[in-house]
Each structure stands twice: as structure tokens, then as C-alpha cells.
Amino acid sequence: MKQRLFTFNFNNPKVWTLLFVTVVFVGDRIIGEVLKYTVQKSQFRYSRLYGKTAHSKYILIGNSRGLVFHSPTIAQKTKQKVINLSYNSMPTELACALIRDYLEIYPAPKYILWEITMLNYNSKKLIANFTPYQSSQNIGPLVAQKYPKLYWWCNFSHIYRYRGEVFLRVLYYMFKNDQNWVLHQEGNIQQIKKSIAQIESVTFRADNKDLEKIKELALFAKSKNCEIKLMIQPLFPDFVPKVKNLQMWKEKITQRTGLKIYDYSQAQFPENYFVDRVHLNKKGAKAYSQLLYNDGIFK
């Protein structure tokens, strides 16, 4: 007769509790590994970045406005590989960490095109959503610095790293390319004009610490023969005069970072190229990418 090596009395509260804690812990680690594997296999831009399949000649980065750089058009025109690493509401610190990771993993790209209106928004919330990539060289320390408690919990429970919106996007782009993403909506021009008319004035901001970080990154990139080009995308024509300090803001950025700004904020784009006062739609995105190519930005 076969004898069991171990027998557990599951009705004993102490034994049960001990087994329960063990199962929770071991399960957490196993599921955590499965989720990690899922993240690595996805076609989402950051999974490609850390999965070493994102080698490109041109890197595009920014917030929701950065997403409007139309990678397929740029790739088609330049006949080079392009990757857009932008994300909605991306803070500068996170962008710096991603670019630094890229430069540490891959041979340097020729140019990094940086949509700098992201400097105007200083929310750090998105960093907390990047925990699926916290094992990277630069994201992990950033999360630990900005959200120490969260970082601790993410190490305590590996499943917990995958709880945010970024992981949902990882799943969504599991088998499909995310580089042709573009705003398909047509903006309601009358409504855009109406909403702009209600705005008295807008002041663009740029945090000195963020500018310092870009400067450091630019020097690091330069050491690898890569140039960072700061870009300002077209704004809805009626909105431009509302930004009172545009010139001063640009001067401050140039002065602090030592980088040239390519300002397309006042490019004469038709109104129907916009979804709202700051975002281009599909037509606008294609036209903007074409304009950059024509102006020799990628040369």
C-alpha cells in the first residue's frame, strides 16, 4: 500500500492558515512570472523597448501630443525604423528614464524628437502605472523615489505590479502594432472655437528640475552621437494668441537645456486638422509628419 509522505489536517486552523499563506505567496510569485512573460511578449511600445525589438533610427517621445507624431508616415518617408514612446500625460522624468533605458539597451538612434509641451503638465501620476516595467534600470529607481510605498508593495506582491492601465494596454496590444495609433475623430470646429473663446489666457510652465534632467540626458545622448530635437507641434490657430508667454517659455527652455527648439505651434494648418485646441487628428498628424520630413528634420 502506498504511504503518503506528508499528511495535513486541513481542519486545524493553524495548519490551514499556514498552508493558506504559503499558497497565497507561491501563487503570487507564479502568477507574477506569467504576467511578466505576458508583458515581455506584447507588441506594446514599452514591451518592445524592454524586449529588445525596438531598435530604431528615430525615437519620438511626448505626452498625448507626442502620440500624434505619425510613425508610419515618418518611417515611409525616411525609409528608416521609427518608434514612438509617447504616452498620455507623460511626465518629463518618466520620458527621461525611458530614453535613458533605450540608450543603454540599443545602439544610439540618430535623433530623438521630443514634444516639449509635456513640460507644461507636471503630473507624476503616470509613473505609478509603469510598475510592469519596474525591473528596468531606470524605471524601478524612479518608481521607488516617487512612490516608495507603492514600490514596496510591488515587491511584496508581484501580481500587484500589473494592476494599472499600462498593463491593460499591454494586453490590448498583445498581438497588434501600436505605432499607427492616431486620433480618428473629426473635431467640432465651432465647439473648439467656443471653448477657446472662454479662455482668457494660458501660461506655459517649465519646471527647472525637468529642464535640468533633459539637459543631462542630452549630454548623455550626445556622448553616444545622438541628438535630441525639441519640438512644438501645431496648436489650433485661435489658441496660439492665448498663450501669453510662448516666446519667453521657449527662451527659458533653450537657455536651460542648450537645445534648439523647432517650433511648429504657428504652422498654418487648416482648422479641420484638429480634434481640439492642442491635438491633431489623422489628417493633421500625417500632414505634420510630412512637414517635418520636408523641412529636413530627419536629415
Partner: protein
């Protein structure tokens, strides 16, 4: 202290461990002390209010029991009810009444008659413990229970922390006898309670808090969204408030069960109700039964003809609405539910006649859908910042664009719908197979069920320690 905070987890662990080592008066003192710490964590100054309410009702109940003359007994009851309502009225409704009176004055006498409101903080859970305390004296007055002689026990009953700030409203006749027994550690009860606590956390952290991001945007600026977005926002809100509140109730009931106490059920899948009478036997049962026993029936209930029944229903639901908050939108929400109940009674003969021609399953589906849609319509008034905004939401739903193409917040929406479907699947499965037996009799399977809930919470939860919606009531 929030149930969904780390502080509470430590608090609950320390409390439970020591609780089972103590007996008799020491245990009662421990419950009282910890309950006051739990409440005082938020604002210790309001402990005076609980202590005051407790003391008033404790002594009045003693006098009530000793007094035999009807007039004096009635007077004592009036003193108790008025004191409780005065405290509630001052802290919760004072500014509401000043504002409403001010509006009337402005309408009649013009702009210069605006009255200054007072700077009052609303004590958390005041509506819950005031109602609980009031029901005790009323029950003593009605000779349904004997007054509690042990002041510490009575104070522990009023302040018992699992249900102190957001219910369920547990009547004295249900809970006080349980305080008289020294609850012993029962592993089966403990695991069943723990299961309910986990389900409560799932509802709160995974469902309710995950929906907040979508709902808040829709209700704050409905103009920025299309009709489909707004409709989904309303549907999600119906689940947010359900999961937030029933989640709290589950944690409270489950935790009490771990300690050996039995609380009444507060929610029984309310969105599966086929009419509004049924809805109110499934939604916030402890409040609806309180209103039935202490307002509707004393008013005459359904005993004095149809018109009086309608009047009593409307008064009860208006008070139920007002209980939720000092705002006309809550009163209107109560009014709508009163109206639904009246219309349901009026349309009942016609409804039965139509039903004869419909298959049973269609009847049920139709009844559930209609009840759910009307409930959601009422939630719009309940959640909107103002009456005007609620009407704007209705306008946008009926006239706006329903295209999927212009849908915003797609990722949070997908997650929200997924977690709701997950919840509904679990609730229906529980209804069909009753997991209680599995949890009790299959300890190995229990390990995996509990672990799966924990893993799901870790993966799908939103951990920002959002306060429970019903705290504000």
C-alpha cells in the same frame, strides 16, 4: 478609520487577537475602547456626540421601563427622539434648512435677505448610530425589549465599530442579546466571516473604486462625453454605489461574524428585483425595514385605504431620501422612489392583465429591466451635483451621439465592464451553488477560493483608500 486602509488591517488584527483572550466585562471594555479609537481616528471630538447619544438613551430607557403612566412614558420617548433628532438636525440638516429658508426669503423679499450658513462638520456615521439608538428607546417604549442595565454593554452596542459608521443598522433586540453571551472562537464562523470580508474588499477595491475614474468625469462634465459614454457612466454608477455600500456591509457583517456576532443581511442582489417593493427588500434592508417599522407602519401603513397608503409611502420615501443627505436632490430621489412604489400599485391590475399574454421568462426579464432602468434614472438625480446637471444628463442621453467611435475612456470602461461581469458571474454562481457549503466542508478548496480572491484584488484593485460613499450620509 477606513476599512480599506492599512491602519485598519493592523487595528483589526490586534483587536481580534486580544478579543478572543478576554472574557466578560473586560471584553466589553475592549470592544468599547477599540470602537472609540476606531471612530476617534477620524475626529476624536465627535466621540462626545456618541457618548452623549448613548447616555441619553441609556437613562431614558431605564426611566421608561420604570414608569407606568402612559403620559410620562410618552414624554420620555419624545425627549429621547427629540434629542437624537436635534443632534442629527443640527449637524446634518442645519445648513440645509438655512439655505432653503434663505432661498424662500430671496424669492419673497429680494437679494438682500441671504442668511449666513454655519461652519459645521458632519460627523461620520451620525445617521446610522442615531437611528440605531432611537430604535432602542422606541422598542423599550413599545415593550418589545427590556432596557439594558449594563452601561458598558449598551455603549458597546451603540459604538460597535464594524457597523458604526455605515451600517447595517442593527436593532438592539438583534445585537444586545449577543453581547450577553461570551462569543467563543468558532473556526467555521471565523472562516465564513473571513470569506465575506474578502468579498466585501473585492466589491469595494476591485469594483467600486475602479469605476470612480469614469463616473466622476461623466457626472462632472457631461458635455464632454457622448450619449453612450454618459449612459455607461450611469450604469457604472449604479454598480459603484451598490458595490461600495454592500462591500462595506459585507466587511462589517463578515468581521462581526469572525468575532462571533450575527448581523442581518443588508443587500440581496437588488438589481435583480422585479418591482420596487421587492427592490426595497433587497437594497439597504436595515434602513428600509427601519423606515417600515418606525415610520410607515406608525403612519398607518396600508391600513386606511388607497390614498392614505400612497401618502404614507410618499412620506416614508421622502424621509428616506432626506436621511441620505441634506440636499434637495436626495429628497427628490426619495420622492421618485415613492412615486415608483405608488405607480407600481396603481398599475398592478393592468400589469397582471398584460402578463397573461407573455411567457414567464419574458415577464421576468421585462420586469427586471424596467425596474433597473427606473432605478438608474433615479440614481442620476442622486449622483449629479445639482438638479440642473441631472436634467442636462437626461437631455444628453436622449439627444446625444451614440456612436462607439467617439467613446472616451475606452480602457477604464473595458476594465469596469469586465469587473462588473466578474461580480455578476460570482453572485449568480453563489445563488445557484451556495459557496457557503464549499467553504465550510472543503478546506482545501477554501484555500484556493480565498487565495484567488486575494490575487484578483491585487491584480484588478484600485488602491487609493477612497472613502466609502455612505460615510457622507
Amino acid at each position: 478609520m477606513l476599512f480599506n486602509s492599512i491602519a485598519f488591517l493592523f487595528f483589526a488584527f490586534i483587536f481580534t487577537t486580544i478579543y478572543f483572550y478576554l472574557r466578560g466585562q473586560y471584553r466589553l471594555l475592549w470592544i468599547l475602547l477599540c470602537s472609540y479609537v476606531f471612530y476617534g481616528w477620524w475626529d476624536y471630538r465627535f466621540l462626545i456626540l456618541i457618548a452623549f447619544s448613548t447616555a441619553v438613551d441609556f437613562f431614558i430607557a431605564q426611566y421608561l421601563h420604570r414608569e407606568s403612566t402612559v403620559r410620562k412614558r410618552r414624554l420620555l420617548l419624545v425627549v429621547s427622539v427629540c434629542t437624537n433628532l436635534a443632534v442629527l438636525g443640527f449637524f446634518k440638516y442645519c445648513n440645509f434648512f438655512i439655505d432653503s429658508f434663505s432661498l424662500i426669503l430671496i424669492h419673497v423679499f429680494g437679494e438682500n435677505t441671504h442668511l449666513q450658513t454655519l461652519d459645521i462638520i458632519l460627523p461620520v456615521g451620525i445617521s446610522f448610530y442615531t437611528f440605531q439608538s432611537m430604535s432602542y428607546t422606541i422598542d423599550v417604549y413599545r415593550n418589545k425589549i427590556l432596557p439594558e442595565k449594563n452601561a458598558i454593554m449598551f455603549a458597546s452596542y451603540i459604538a460597535f465599530f464594524p457597523q458604526l459608521v455605515a451600517g447595517p443598522i442593527v436593532r438592539a433586540r438583534q445585537l444586545l442579546p449577543q453581547f450577553h453571551q461570551d462569543q467563543k472562537f468558532n473556526w467555521n464562523q471565523f472562516t465564513l466571516g473571513f470569506a465575506q470580508v474578502l468579498v466585501g474588499y473585492f466589491k469595494k477595491i476591485v469594483v467600486a473604486d475602479s469605476l470612480v475614474i469614469v463616473i466622476d468625469q461623466v457626472f462632472t462634465a457631461p458635455n464632454n462625453f457622448n450619449a453612450l459614454n454618459i449612459t455607461l457612466g450611469v450604469v457604472l454608477y449604479s454598480f459603484q454605489i451598490y458595490c461600495d455600500f454592500s462591500g462595506y456591509s459585507d466587511i462589517a457583517i463578515g468581521f462581526a461574524r469572525m468575532l462571533g456576532f450575527e448581523f442581518p443581511v443588508n443587500f440581496r442582489m437588488p438589481y435583480f428585483s422585479r418591482n420596487f417593493s421587492e427592490f426595497w427588500t433587497r437594497w439597504h434592508i436595515s434602513l428600509s425595514s427601519w423606515l417600515r417599522d418606525y415610520v410607515y407602519i406608525p403612519l398607518g401603513g396600508n391600513r386606511n385605504g388607497r390614498i392614505n397608503t400612497y401618502k404614507n409611502l410618499l412620506i416614508t420615501m421622502l424621509l428616506g431620501g432626506l436621511w441620505h443627505g441634506a440636499n434637495w436632490k436626495f429628497v427628490f430621489w426619495g420622492f421618485l422612489h415613492g412615486l415608483y412604489l405608488i405607480l407600481q400599485r396603481m398599475a398592478s391590475p393592468l400589469y397582471q392583465r398584460v402578463n397573461r399574454y407573455l411567457p414567464h421568462i419574458v415577464q421576468i426579464a421585462l420586469a427586471m429591466t424596467t425596474t433597473y432602468i427606473l432605478t438608474c434614472a433615479a440614481w442620476i438625480f442622486f449622483r449629479s451635483e445639482s438638479f440642473t446637471k441631472a436634467l442636462e444628463i437626461f437631455h444628453l442621453i436622449f439627444t446625444g451621439d451614440w456612436s462607439l467611435h467617439n467613446l472616451k475612456n475606452k480602457f477604464p470602461l473595458v476594465k469596469s465592464i469586465f469587473v462588473i461581469l466578474l461580480l455578476l458571474t460570482c453572485e449568480i454562481a453563489h445563488c445557484k451553488w451556495n459557496f457557503t457549503n464549499v467553504i465550510l466542508h472543503h478546506p482545501r478548496l477554501r484555500i484556493f477560493i480565498f487565495a484567488t480572491i486575494l490575487w484578483t484584488i491585487a491584480l484588478l484593485g484600485t488602491f487609493n483608500e477612497t472613502a466609502f460613499i455612505y460615510f457622507q450620509f
